[in-house]
Amino acid sequence: MSAITRDEVAHLARLSRLALGEDELDHLAAQLDVIISAVARVQEVTAEDIPPTSHALPLTNVYRPDEVRPSLSPEEALAGAPAAEDQRFRVPRILGEEA
């Protein structure tokens, strides 16, 4: 049995904001199936009551003083923008036509 179906892969592509073609989905579905079956080995480990580690360092909430400091100018911040207008990022429409 497959670890993941092609429909699930298509759903993952939508969640990941990747507009993939049919061929690419077929190819990825086969590869993800192999990878997911392999990484599922973590489920063999008996780990009840074992706390999870999200991070190698025993650090929590590192703060710095809340001071005003120089930052990028609008020109610098917009220098790499695909499109800019009036010191702002120009983006495609976010809301539907009727909104």
Partner: protein
């Protein structure tokens, strides 16, 4: 006089300090070498000869003015193209960032500049540092100087190849699952992964934030240590940066003394999948350590066999979140914005066009592992395995001072061999991944050539977090003993390019 490009960083620094050569001469020699060989190696994505000479002239001027300069002032360095640089493009090996000029320098970049290092250019890498061969770069593969039909390792393969091909004495890399140690191993040079948090991630384009660690490449252990000290240390701009002094790695590399040191051989890193020539050189290296006065014992780390599957859940999960920032809105590529499409459609088209296959695989794998209904069985379980691996290390380091293993199970494989077989590619990081999950210090140092293919083999040395000096001390002892046996560095055996 020996050719300048054959000199170590420490030698170059001494020659410049003594006035026997200048930063400009040294930079020019390396630019000439790049011009002569990089067409065959393709280590660099970007070089700017005029900008390089300008940096070198500035160092010479500071020296002439009697300024106090750092120990690496005027030494050239190749910089992995995953660190932001204000004056050079930064691509992370991805089409989605083609031509991008960052508005700020990474902390590592800023510290290289402050130390007077001369940045020769930006080196090739697997896209967003995801890979073990540099074949995943959108700009084509880099080639191994030992055999140009083979991979130079990855993800920092441009950096390892540049140093092994004498295009630069030093290079920066980043190590998330082995991306410094594995390329160092397969190109016959030294590469270190500092303790997580020992070097700053600020301005390092993020792949897996709980694992990403900048570190040095060099042809000698001492050079690697000098570079390690030049860019490491606390950075208030990185919340996971350790606020402690940098371990004394340069002193350790000079000391190179290991009598009485307790060395553990990891039992789980042997057997099926390990090339015979790799195992033979590793076994000899262990005997060498014993002959130098170390006490060698076998150590078991029973959960290490689950490190690879745990890593390929944790790293993709973090990547799927980190790479959400490539949204086609603020910087980088934008595709299909013709007025008819919504922002979300433009985003999905851009990401499909701008990311390569490995990056897409990992984003989708991470999205899967984090999605509701699968989270506990995959990401949650992998995080528990991460705890068990850390405990295995802690138990081992109660018995021994360092652990050793081969750096990678095989020598450099042919370009193309594993390109469309992700699981085969992932095995290259089998021995390096546990140190990323636990955040400890590790290094790869050359330990010989495999009999069957004549290609370099690396010895990995691992120590507890913040004991970086220990891995340098052992690596330097191994290097000293082997170089006296070989009558010079391993790299002297590489074919002329």
């Amino acid at each position: 006089m020996t050719e300048l490009t054959r000199r170590t960083a420490a030698e170059l620094a001494a020659l410049m300090a003594a006035g026997e050569t200048s930063a400009v001469e040294v930079a020019q020699a390396h630019l000439d070498r790049i011009a002569a060989v990089d067409g065959r190696i393709e280590a660099f994505l970007h070089t700017d000869p005029e900008g390089v000479l300008e940096q070198a002239r500035a160092v010479d001027a500071r020296r002439a003015a009697g300024e106090e300069l750092g120990p690496l002032a005027g030494v050239p360095i190749a910089h992995k193209d995953v660190f932001t640089t204000r004056d050079m493009p930064t691509t992370a090996g991805s089409k989605i960032l083609e031509g991008w000029r960052p508005p700020y320098d990474a902390t590592v970049t800023a510290r290289l500049r402050a130390a007077g290092l001369v940045i020769l250019g930006k080196t090739n890498l697997d896209e967003f540092a995801m890979g073990s061969s540099t074949e995943n770069s959108a700009y084509g593969p880099t080639r191994n100087p030992w055999d140009t039909s083979r991979i130079p390792g990855g993800s920092s393969g441009g950096s390892s190849a540049a140093v092994a091909a004498y295009e630069a004495p030093l290079a920066t890399g980043t190590d998330t699952g082995g991306s410094i140690r594995q390329p160092a191993s397969v190109t016959g040079i030294v590469g270190a992964k500092p303790t997580y948090g020992g070097s700053s991630r600020y301005g390092l384009i993020a792949f897996a934030s709980s694992l990403d660690t900048p570190g040095p490449f060099a042809r000698t252990v001492l050079d690697a240590a000098l570079l390690h000290e030049a860019f490491s240390g606390h950075d208030p701009m990185d919340a996971t940066s350790i606020d402690r002094p940098v371990p004394p790695v340069v002193e350790a590399a000079r000391r190179a003394e290991i009598a009485g040191l307790r060395v553990g051989v990891v039992r789980e890193f042997a057997g099926d999948g390990y090339q015979a020539g790799v195992t033979a050189r590793f076994d000899e290296a262990v005997e060498l350590l014993e002959s130098l006065g170390a006490k060698v014992v076998e150590v078991s780390c029973p959960h290490f066999e689950y490190a690879l599957p745990a890593y390929y859940l944790i790293a993709p999960s973090e990547c799927s979140s980190n790479l959400a920032r490539f949204d086609a809105m603020r910087y980088g590529l934008r595709i299909g914005d013709d007025g008819s499409r919504s922002a979300e459609e433009v985003m999905a088209l851009t990401r499909a066009e701008g990311f390569g296959p490995e990056v897409k695989r990992r984003i989708m794998l991470g999205t899967y592992a984090l999605s509701s209904g699968y989270y506990d069985a995959y990401y949650g379980k992998a995080q528990q395995v991460r705890t068990l691996i850390t405990r295995d290390f802690e138990a081992a380091f109660e018995q021994v001072d360092v652990l050793v293993s081969p750096t990678t199970p095989t020598t450099a494989f042919p370009i193309g061999e594993r390109a469309d077989d992700p699981m085969a590619m992932y095995l290259a990081d089998l021995c390096t991944i546990p140190s990323n999950l636990a955040g400890n210090a590790a290094i790869s140092v050359p330990c010989g050539l495999a009999d069957e293919d004549g290609l370099p083999v690396g010895l990995q040395i691992m120590a507890p977090p913040l004991a970086d000096d220990r891995v340098y001390r052992v690596a330097a002892a191994v290097e000293r003993a082997l170089e006296s046996r070989w009558n010079g560095p391993l790299l002297a055996k590489a074919p002329e390019l």
